[in-house]
């Protein structure tokens, strides 16, 4: 079992690859379909994983990953725990703008706000952007896919004058001042 490294593979021309990690494997399938069909100019590859580390057998066929998206469904306790465990297998190089978190189910009534708060703390401590998505409706999936695609194009170097690191610096998750005291 190896860690996922950002520069172990040579990037291909006009292609971008995103890795969607979700323990429940529901939302990632919907997202993947939309992402693949939405982009026509460049070839976008989507890898779906349940958790990290990724199987060693696929090492050869796996392309250079430009963006890792951790999808957290707030309805499930285990969703967050699984992501926390998976983070250990991500190379520090990825955190320079090639990781983002996607939260679903935040609108659900029964979900306690503590869960969302801990996700925000996690994203803040890793200096990563945190996106929110609605997974039940088609428009929600489309919007989330469009956002991810835009971020992916930047991190894959397909957008002129922008890099993943600069974008991430601008969009990274921040906490309000009273909570931020815990980290600094």
């Amino acid at each position: 079992m190896s860690t996922l490294k950002p520069f172990s593979k040579i990037p291909e021309l006009n292609s971008a690859n995103v890795l969607l990690v979700e323990n429940e494997e529901q939302f990632q399938k919907k997202l993947a379909d939309v992402i693949v069909n939405a982009e026509k100019d460049v070839s976008v590859g989507v890898r779906l994983a349940r958790r990290l580390p990724l199987p060693v057998e696929n090492e050869e066929t796996r392309p250079c990953i430009d963006l890792v998206v951790f999808i957290i469904n707030l309805s499930f306790e285990r969703s967050f725990q699984s992501v926390e465990l998976s983070l250990k297998y991500v190379d520090p190089g990825f955190f320079l703008g090639k990781v983002c978190f996607l939260v679903t189910g935040a609108r659900c009534w029964s979900v306690s706000s503590d869960r969302l708060q801990s996700v925000r703390k996690l994203a803040t401590s890793l200096r990563c952007p945190l996106l929110y998505a609605e997974d039940q409706t088609v428009e929600g999936v489309n919007t989330a896919a469009a956002r991810l695609l835009r971020v992916l194009k930047v991190t894959a170097g397909l957008t002129p004058w922008a890099t993943g690191l600069s974008l991430s610096t601008l969009t990274r998750c921040t906490l309000s001042s009273d909570l931020e005291g815990d980290f600094d």
């Binding site: 890795l19 323990n23 429940e24 494997e25 529901q26 993947a32 379909d33 693949v36 069909n37 070839s43 976008v44 590859g45 989507v46 890898r47 779906l48 994983a49 349940r50 990724l54 199987p55 696929n58 066929t61 796996r62 499930f76 306790e77 285990r78």
Partner: protein, 347 residues
Amino acid sequence: MDETTRTVLQRVVRKVPATRLREVLRTWGRVPARQLDLLDFSTSKFVLFEDVRSLCEVNSNRLTLKHVCELEMIYFIGNPAQGVWRACHLTEPDDDVMTVELRQFKEQFKARLTELISNVSVKIKKHDDEAVWIRIAWGDHFHRPNQLKPTYVVHHLQTPYVFVYNLSTKHKPLLYQALVLATRHGSMKDSHLSGKSLTSIRDFLMRSYQQAFPTKYARPLQEKNTAPTNPNIEKEHAEQEEKRLQLACEAFGEGNVPRLETATYKLETRYRGSGNETLNNREEPFRALIKFSSANLLVSLNHCVSAGMAETPVTPLLSSITQKGKNYFVITDKGSGNSSQSMVQKK
């Protein structure tokens, strides 16, 4: 027509949906078909009952309770999914168990039951699919049999399975004893299986549903009915997903599985967690009742496992539903298997 017959007839007419009533009455055969066609089944049940009653009185001048019970049975055999059916198991068969035939069984059963309890009315009818249906109305020394709350028993001759509907604990030993003697078995015990659909329980117990068996090799491609996927989408854990699906099918069957509604676990185990002193050092066991319920439990559990919500390999607590053919379990403290319920996060 006496009072009881009247009440039972009224009850049947009320219970049977108006759309089915014509068919049921026709099968019964006490009222000529021509007169049945003239009946208006769209009126209220009260008027309908009066019509049916007058028709019965005109055509068969001595309509007895027996006939009305038969009518009720005809409806019940056609629509057995009305309440909770329990399965029982006959054990310790005698040597001549295979020689039991219907006529003999009828006589024996009636004789044995009337020996045990004086006021009881029994009606036995054979259905097309080789099942013997028994309707028992129980009474006691001072009361006549209560025809309004009958017990139904379904037994397939030469099999060890008995299905019981609406049996009170008071009458349980009587019925068991009569059945054991009539079918030439040594004893009879509860199978701890219950459900709303009789056919489902029967299929489940006799294992007549599609099952998957462990194989060393992956299944041939044509069996997997997967939708075509985009070549740009690659699953990293495809093998594991396949394996989970296989394990789920092995544990809970695949395709059209029998409908079970509930699975109940009664825990009488000791708490073995850390950090909770009040629960940890208790003398008596920690009692709890865990109930899973769903419209179709086996499908739900299958989905739980194949979607990865429950851990694989499937815990024996869940897989023993199909393996042992039970849906009520008592788990006592023998060391293994406690607290495994936490494995299933949500159902």
